[in-house]
């Protein structure tokens, strides 16, 4: 292997690693706030990529229908609850949020898709179609059992993962998609060819990480999420409801997932079920950080990206095996150096 190849692999590894890092951060966030191990994170990556791919072909993406379907399901659950609690005044808001807005977005997508709008608009449309699925999934699958044990929540995650993969097949079909790169630019830096797309991925990831940091440090909702992660009882006592914190963290996770999908779509062919492996690599990064530390999770995810790049160079057929096997010593090391995250007392 010569320097040129080594540098190329580093570029490749860091590009993928940046996306794994984003996913790892989302997983740490969701776990800290809700104790949910968010296996369906990867599905949001696939949904983001496939929605954008659909829009680029001028087709109405299946996500628009899916959003309406899931919206109807949430509306039913919310209406039942409102009637049970005798809160009829909530009904208009429920209908607006979970039926009228999804219908409006469906119509918007229907109208806009065939006109092939500019890439930025396509990306925005993708986000407004995919991201609301995050809090809706929380409302349907997790909120009713929010106080269950980590294991029960994990089982729910597995179920949601399979459900979302299945729905992905129904709404996007079995063919894979690859979108054109955001930029065809190439720069020569010494022996290294830097592609515009990898700069896009790394730049966007970095920008997103900085934005998240600012959100957590300087906004009241960011602080509320941190507070919930630190002390759930204390957070309730100051009026931060676990349901709100849960929905907000799932919204962020869905946003991060969808953006990752948009970034990864021009690099890899994405199928309805590709999200799982991508998410799993983010998960490995998050595990390196004990599902607790954001910086270690991000570093771990970058490492996974690099490992993967080198593994695919030497033994392409075994790259997943190599990546996931090399993680075992890390897990053993972690299990000796950290104590377990305790189930919450009380």
């Amino acid at each position: 292997m010569n320097t040129e190849i080594a540098l190329f692999l580093i570029q490749d590894g860091l590009t993928n690693g940046a996306i794994y890092a984003l996913l790892a951060l989302a997983l740490v966030l969701v776990f800290a706030v809700t104790r949910v191990i968010f296996i369906p994170q990867g599905e949001f990556v696939a949904y983001g990529a496939l929605t954008l791919a659909g829009l680029q072909l001028g087709k109405l993406p299946g996500t628009a229908w899916l959003l309406l379907g899931v919206g109807l399901a949430v509306a039913v659950v919310e209406l039942a609850q409102a009637l049970r609690l005798g809160l009829a005044r909530r009904i208009p808001a429920i209908l607006f949020k979970f039926i009228i807005i999804p219908v409006a977005l469906l119509s918007l997508a229907w109208w806009a898709a065939p006109q092939k709008p500019a890439l930025t608009l396509q990306i925005l449309l993708t986000l407004v179609l995919v991201v609301p699925l995050g809090p809706m999934v929380y409302r349907l699958a997790y909120q009713p059992l929010a106080n269950a044990s980590v294991l029960v929540l994990l089982i729910i995650s597995v179920a949601v993962h399979f459900a979302m993969t299945g729905l992905g097949l129904v709404f996007f079909g079995a063919e894979g998609s690859r979108t054109p790169p955001f930029s065809d630019a190439q720069w020569k830096l010494g022996v290294l060819n830097i592609s515009g797309q990898s700069l896009w991925v790394m730049g966007a990831s970095l920008a997103l990480i900085v934005a998240l940091l600012l959100f957590f440090e300087h906004t009241i909702y960011g602080k509320a999420l941190r507070a919930t992660a630190i002390n759930r009882v204390g957070a309730r006592l100051v009026g931060v409801s676990p349901a709100m914190a849960g929905k907000l963290s799932f919204t962020l996770a869905a946003l991060i997932g969808a953006l990752s999908g948009i970034l990864v779509a021009p690099i890899t062919t994405i199928y309805y079920d590709s999200g799982f492996l991508v998410g799993l690599k983010g998960f490995v990064g998050a595990i390196v950080g004990g599902l607790m530390s954001y910086p270690i999770a991000a570093a771990g995810a970058l490492l996974v990206g690099l490992l993967e790049a080198y593994a695919s160079f030497w033994a392409s057929a075994y790259k997943e095996v190599i990546v996931f096997t090399l993680i075992i010593p890390v897990l053993i090391w972690r299990s000796f150096t950290t104590h377990h995250i305790e189930e919450e007392e009380e």
Binding site: N231, R236, G239
Partner: protein, 244 residues
């Protein structure tokens, strides 16, 4: 005058074991009411149920509204606030951020008067201002209690519920804390005070209830309670009967 808080037939159970049985109590606007009783009597359970942190049966009418089915968040935004026995601070966040979060429901309502309350809390507890960039987890016991009180005040409570504010604190700090509690009444805050330190509680309160094994056994104006032989014997010790 109608009561700010009127509790009737309140029962709270942990599984099958009832920890509070058919409690009734009443608190008028601007008053300090205390609930005293031995360890394990159910005082903490009572406050947790009033805050909505535990499921309960009975009726809780607050500011003319039945709040039994309200979530804690809804009670907070109506001015009900609990400083719990365990303080429940955000240890890994700064003192300042803890205070900010105290006002969470007011930020949601875009309340413009929050800054003034920061000044007020820092005036009451200058120590918190000195340590505002420090993590809450690094504070001493007394400072933690100040922060818990300060965080509660940031929510601008109408009814402040305090669960053993003197617990584990040095006598000098206990005196400071009780001075602040007495001062709060002047600003129109009503207070429900739970204490094992019955002497201090009855001194500052207008009215008191004695809770034993989940039931209210005696109630009355604080002065009457302080001279009630049963209360003196169980909670005030012999010293005060001699002094009284």
């Amino acid at each position: 005058m109608s009561a700010l808080l009127e509790v009737r037939g309140l029962s709270v159970a942990y599984g099958k074991v009832e920890a509070v049985h058919q409690a009734a109590l009443r608190l008028e606007q601007g008053r300090i009411v205390t609930v005293i009783g031995p360890n394990g009597a159910g005082k903490t359970t009572l406050l947790a149920a009033l805050m909505g942190m535990l499921p309960a049966r009975g009726s809780i009418s607050y500011a003319g509204e039945e709040i039994m089915r309200f979530e804690p968040e809804q009670r907070v935004s109506r001015g009900l606030c609990l400083v719990p026995e365990r303080r429940e601070l955000f240890a890994a966040m700064t003192v300042e951020d803890n205070l900010v979060l105290g006002a969470f429901h007011r930020y949601r309502k875009r309340d413009q008067t929050i800054a003034a309350d920061f000044d007020e809390v820092y005036r009451l507890f200058p120590r918190l201002q000195e340590r505002r960039k420090q993590l809450a987890g690094t504070l001493s016991g007394g400072e933690r209690q100040m922060l818990a009180l300060g965080r509660a005040l940031m929510s601008r409570p109408r009814l402040l519920m305090l669960d053993e504010p003197s617990l584990g604190l040095a006598p000098l700090i206990v005196r400071d804390i009780f001075r602040v509690i007495a001062g709060l009444r002047e600003t129109g805050v009503s207070i429900l005070l739970v204490e094992q330190n019955a002497r201090a509680a009855l001194q500052v309160a207008d009215y008191g209830y004695v809770l034993e094994t989940g039931e209210i056994v005696v109630e009355g104006p604080s002065a009457n309670l302080a001279s009630d032989p049963r209360v003196i014997e169980s909670y005030l010790g012999l010293v005060s009967s001699g002094a009284g």
